[in-house]
């Protein structure tokens, strides 16, 4: 049964990706006429609605995602850090309805269609870029009112235990003097696993916290202090969310 559902979810997602991006092709061509950062912004908007449509429509027969915004509506451009249990996080980060540039490793940028669009959207390549390039491109993203989302664990954890955070994106936030938002994603540690197989289909929770204000970000002695602060907040919230999910599943 799980195998059939895997086939169904991937088939529907791929079919929808094809339809969506074929329909969006004229808009992508029009966007190509705009200056670089504006062009990237509009591609990010298209990616945002693609992500939202996948999570809210295509995946709805398989699992539901509860989203809670605890930012109080604050949307000052900044850096968003999210925990990373599985590959679907790249879609779930669309739930706060922000046009985002994600930090990615090299390989997702080589995936047909989505990788090409991600490049057009100015996604930040953390494998090949040095710190200064990363920071300059992040500044470009924020200059048009968008945000950068990063997964400071660096790789998928596939478990409820977060891996240690890397400091790079926290250094970027401090150097730029911008707020740091925290996005917590719970329940998807086996959806899918590292081999992209959904081991189960269960409801998920996503919670948008923060932000840690820009002044507080700038006043941290080092990026290490900021990453530890974000780690503490995130791990506390995730523990609550996991417990809530367990309770809901037990009912």
């Amino acid at each position: 049964m799980t195998r059939l559902r895997n086939i169904a979810i991937y088939s529907l997602t791929l079919l929808w990706a094809f339809i969506y991006w074929v329909a969006a092709a004229p808009l992508l061509l029009l966007a190509a006429l705009l200056p670089a950062e504006k062009r990237r912004h509009w591609v990010r908007v298209l990616l945002l609605y693609f992500g939202l449509s996948v999570v809210r429509v295509i995946w709805r027969p398989f699992f539901k995602v509860g989203f809670e915004d605890r930012t109080g509506g604050v949307r000052i451009p900044g850096i968003v850090v999210a925990n990373h249990r599985s590959a679907i996080d790249a879609f779930l980060v669309s739930l706060p309805r922000l046009s985002l540039a994600q930090t990615v490793n090299d390989w997702p940028l080589r995936v047909p269609i989505l990788g090409w669009v991600a490049k057009m959207a100015g996604y930040l390549n953390i494998t090949n870029w040095d710190y200064e390039t990363l920071k300059a491109r992040a500044e470009g993203v924020l200059s048009v009112g968008d945000m950068v989302v990063s997964y400071p664990e660096g790789t998928r954890s596939e478990s409820r235990t977060m891996g240690p955070f890397r400091s790079g994106i926290f250094r970027v936030a401090m150097d730029m003097g911008v707020p740091l938002y925290i996005l917590c994603i719970a329940g998807n540690e086996k959806m899918p696993d590292r081999k992209f197989r959904f081991r189960e289909f269960r409801d998920l929770k996503v919670r948008f916290l923060g932000p840690i204000p820009a002044d507080e970000v700038k006043s941290c002695a080092t990026a290490y202090v900021l990453k530890k602060k974000a780690f503490r907040i995130m791990s506390g919230e995730l523990a609550s969310m996991d417990a809530e999910l367990e309770n809901e599943r037990a009912l």
Binding site: Y131, P164, F165, R166, S167, G168, R171, A221, T222, A223, Y224, V225, K228
Partner: protein, 92 residues
């Protein structure tokens, strides 16, 4: 200058720069695995140690072999013997 003074000076960097508790700072702690410093944090650590001890570490090959806090204490104990100005700076 005895080892305890070196330990106190090194620990002060970890407390000020990384807001770690003194109780966490024991010689067997691995800087990467236990204290979770990554490469950028290690640069911050080296900058802090350089400022505290008034000595350049960039060209010191032994800094690359540091794995634990105990290795840091050993290195600075050795450097303090080789460079009297460190002792002078810390006792000011």
């Amino acid at each position: 200058m005895d080892r305890n003074e070196i330990i106190k000076a090194v620990n002060s960097i970890f407390i000020e720069r990384f807001e770690l508790e003194e109780s966490e700072l024991t010689p067997e702690k691995n800087i990467i695995e236990d204290l979770q410093l990554d490469s950028l944090d290690i640069v911050d650590m080296i900058v802090g140690l350089q400022q505290k001890f008034g000595i350049m570490l960039r060209d010191n090959p032994e800094i690359r072999n540091v794995r634990t806090l105990g290795d840091v204490y050993d290195l600075f104990e050795k450097l303090a013997k080789e460079h009297p100005e460190i002792v002078e700076r810390l006792t000011k």
